[in-house]
C-alpha cells in the first residue's frame, strides 16, 4: 500500500508542475460537454424547402401553408428560371416541392393530383424523415381543407413519454456526453504518462524497482482516476444546469460505476502507452480506440440496437456503452441496482481485463524479485 501511495505522490508531483494540463483538465470537460450535448441532434428543423408552385391558386397556397406551419420546414422561393435539380445540387435547399398546374381544379374534382417532392437524400436518415413528414402534412391538409371526408376515429392512442416527456434531444445527448467526457481525458493522461516513461527511459527504473507490476500500475492510475472524479463532479454540476440532470434517489450505483469506468479508461490508456511506448502513437491509439469508437458506437449518437448484429458485439467491448447506459438509468430513469447490474458487471470485467493486460505487459520486462 505504501508503495502504491509513493508512486501516486510522484505522479501528482509531475502533474502539478504542468499548468496547461491542469487548465485543460478543468476547461475541456465544460466546453466539450456543452458542445457535445447541444450540437448533435437528429430532429429536423429549419429544412429549406424550395417551392415551385405552378398553380398559384388559393388552394395551392393553403397547401403550402400547411408545410410552412410545421416547424420542420423553412419555405423559401426558388430563383427565377432555376430547375429544382440544379437548386438541390447547389445545396440551396434540401427538398423541392413541385405543385402542378391545375392543382386546385384537380383537387376539387377529386382527381388526386400528383405533387412531387424531390428530396436531397445525401443524408438518407433526414430524407426518410422528410418524406414521412410530407405524407403526414399532406393527409392533414386533406382533412382540414375538407377535401377528404373526416374519418371516424375508432381508436386513439394516449401516449405517455416516460423519462423524457419533452422528447428533448439535449437531455439524451447530455447524458451521453458525460460518458464521452470521462473517457477522453483520464485515458489520455494515462496513455501519456505511461508512454512518457518509455520515451524518457525512466521505465527501466520501474522495472528495476521493488514495485510489482500491479503496484506500479495502480499507483500510476490512482491519480488519473481521481482527476476523473473531479471532472465527473464538474460535468455533473454543468449537467444539472444545462441538461436537466436530476440527482438520482440512489446515487450509489452511479458513483460505483463512475469509478469503475474511470479505471477502465485509465487502464486502457496505459495499455496503449505500454503497447506503443511513444506518446504520439499512444494518443492516436486512445483517440481511435476510445474516443472515436465510443463517440460513434456506444449509443451516444445512435441506439446500440440499431447497429447490425454482426458488429454489435463490438460495442459491448467498449466501457462507454455500459457506462452511458448506467448514467441514463440513474439520471433519467431513476432506477437503481437491479436494472444497472448487468452493465455494472460488464464494467468490472472490462476494467479488470485492461488491468491484466497492463500487468502482463509490465511483467514481461520486470526483474523477478
Amino acid at each position: 500500500m505504501k508503495k502504491i501511495w509513493a508512486q501516486a505522490t510522484k505522479e501528482f508531483a509531475l502533474f502539478r508542475r504542468d499548468k496547461l494540463l491542469i487548465l485543460l483538465a478543468v476547461l475541456m470537460p465544460i466546453v466539450l460537454m456543452t458542445l457535445a450535448g447541444r450540437t448533435q441532434s437528429l430532429r429536423l428543423r429549419n429544412v429549406r424547402l424550395l417551392v415551385y408552385d405552378y398553380d398559384n391558386s388559393p388552394l395551392s397556397r393553403t397547401y403550402l401553408e400547411t408545410y410552412g406551419a410545421a416547424l420542420t420546414f423553412n419555405i423559401s422561393p426558388h430563383q427565377e428560371g432555376e430547375s429544382p435539380e440544379r437548386a438541390l445540387s447547389a445545396g440551396r435547399g434540401r427538398a423541392a416541392l413541385i405543385i402542378p398546374p391545375n392543382f386546385e381544379r384537380d383537387v376539387r374534382r377529386g382527381d388526386e393530383p400528383t405533387v412531387q417532392l424531390m428530396i436531397d437524400a445525401t443524408d438518407s436518415n433526414a430524407a426518410t424523415a422528410l418524406g414521412n413528414m410530407a405524407q403526414a402534412l399532406n393527409a392533414s391538409f386533406a382533412y382540414k381543407s375538407g377535401v377528404s371526408p373526416q374519418r371516424r376515429e375508432l381508436v386513439t392512442l394516449d401516449q405517455r413519454l416516460w423519462f423524457n416527456p419533452g422528447l428533448s434531444n439535449p437531455v439524451y445527448f447530455g447524458t451521453g456526453a458525460l460518458g464521452m467526457m470521462l473517457i477522453i481525458f483520464p485515458a489520455l493522461l494515462g496513455a501519456l504518462a505511461t508512454a512518457k516513461e518509455y520515451e524518457m527511459g525512466t521505465i527501466i527504473q520501474a522495472y528495476a524497482s521493488s514495485l510489482s507490476a500491479g503496484q506500479w500500475i495502480t499507483g500510476k492510475a490512482l491519480l488519473y482516476v481521481l482527476i476523473g472524479l473531479v471532472e465527473f463532479v464538474i460535468c455533473f454540476v454543468l449537467g444539472i444546469f444545462a441538461f436537466e440532470y436530476r440527482i438520482p434517489s440512489d446515487p450509489s450505483v452511479l458513483v460505483v460505476a463512475t469509478v469503475l469506468y474511470l479505471m477502465a479508461g485509465v487502464f486502457f490508456g496505459m495499455m496503449m502507452g505500454n503497447a506503443t511506448g511513444n506518446q504520439s502513437a499512444a494518443i492516436q491509439g486512445v483517440q481511435m480506440g476510445s474516443f472515436l469508437l465510443s463517440l460513434l458506437l456506444s449509443g451516444y449518437l445512435f441506439a446500440v440496437s440499431n447497429i447490425p448484429p454482426q458488429i454489435r458485439w463490438f460495442s459491448s467491448l467498449l466501457p462507454a456503452t455500459h457506462y452511458v447506459q448506467i448514467v441514463r438509468n440513474s439520471i433519467l430513469r431513476d432506477v437503481g441496482w437491479e436494472t444497472s447490474f448487468r452493465p455494472l458487471i460488464a464494467l468490472v470485467i472490462l476494467a479488470f481485463l485492461f488491468f491484466m493486460v497492463n500487468v502482463m505487459q509490465m511483467r514481461k520486462m520486470q526483474f523477478k524479485g
Binding site: N46, S280, Q284
Partner: protein
Amino acid sequence: MPAFLRRYLALATKEVQQLRRNRGLLVQLMIPPTIVLVIFGYALNPKVRGLRLGVVDESLTIQSRELVDALTQNVNFNVAKQFLRAQDAEDALKRLKLDLFMVIPMDFARSLDRGETAHVQVVIDAVDANTAQIAQGYLQRALDEYNASGGVIRVADINPKRTLNRAAHPAPPPGAPDVQSAYIYNPGLVTAWHYVTGVMSIIMFINASLVASALAVKEKETGTIEQLLMTPAQTGEMLLAKTSPVFVLMMIVLFVALAVGRLVFGVPVRGALWLFTLAGACASLAGIGIGVLVSTISKTQQQAQLLTFFVNPPITLFSGATSPIENMPEIFQKISYIDPLRYLVTIVRGVTLKDAPWSALWPNLAVLAGFAVVLFSISAWRFRKQ
C-alpha cells in the same frame, strides 16, 4: 538549382528519412482510415428497428387482438411479451426489457361496439428522443391504417395505385393530393454514404493536425530545433520541408479512404475528382497549420497532443459530418461558419454524391483555401518567433 530549392530538398530528405524510420506513424496514418471507415459505414445507423413492444390486453376480445395484429404488422415492432397487469409492464420498461408498451382497456370492445372512440394507452421510454419519436410515428401510422380500414384490414379494399405507395408510406386519404417523393442522389437510401463521406473528411483533417503537431514538437523536445534554426534555411522553407511529407501522406490517405468508400459501400464519385483532391489538399494544409500552431504554443509533446484533442472535437461536432447543421441551435449554426471542416464536408459530399455545380462549390473551396493560407501563415509566423 536555386539555393532555396536545394535547401528545401535537403530538409525534405531529412524529414522523409525520419518518417521512414517511424514505422509506427506510417501504420497509424494508413490503417485507421480503412478500419474506421468500414466499421462506421456499417455500424452507424439511425434506422430504428426491432422495437420491443409489450402488450397489456385487459380486454381479451377478438377486437383487441385484431388491434394488436394491426399495429404489429409493422416489421419494426416485436411483441416481446404479453402482460396481465399494467404494473408488470411498467416494471419491465424500467428494467429496460421493453422499449414501449400499450394498455388496451377492459371496455375496449364495448366502446367499439357502441360506436365510441376507444382509448388505448401507450407508454414509451423516451430517454432516446429520436427513437421515441420514430416509434410514435410508426404506431400512429399503423393506427391510421387501422382506423381507415374501419377496424378490419381487407386486402381487397386496397386500390392498386395505393399499393405502390404502401411500401414506404401509408396511403393518403381518398381525394387528397398524392405526394410522390423522389429521393435523388441516393435513391436506395444507403445510410453509409452519408457517414462514410463525413468520416472521410474528419479523418483527413484531424490526422493532419495530430501528426503535424507531433512532428513539430518532437524537434522541440529533443532540442534539435536549435540545430534547425541555425541552418541557413528560412523558417518558411523549414516549415514547408517539415510538412510536405505529411502532406503527401495525407493525400494518399485521402485516396485510400475514397477507394474504401467506393469498393466497400459503393459511394459514387459523380463530380470532378480534381475538385475533391484540391479540397482535400486545402483541408490537410489547414489541418497541418492548426497542428503546427498548437505545437508552437505548447512546450511538450504531451501538451501539444492534449491541445489538439481540445481543438479537434469541436471541429468535428460543428462540421455537420455526423448530424445536420440545420438542426443545431442558431448560435452554433453561426459558429459553424468558422469551422474549416464544414466546408470540406460540403465539398466532399458535393463532389461524390451530388455532382454539385461549380458555382455552388467554389465559395466553399475559396473559404477552405483561405483557411489553409491563414492558418499556415500564422503557424509560420509563430514558428519563426520561437
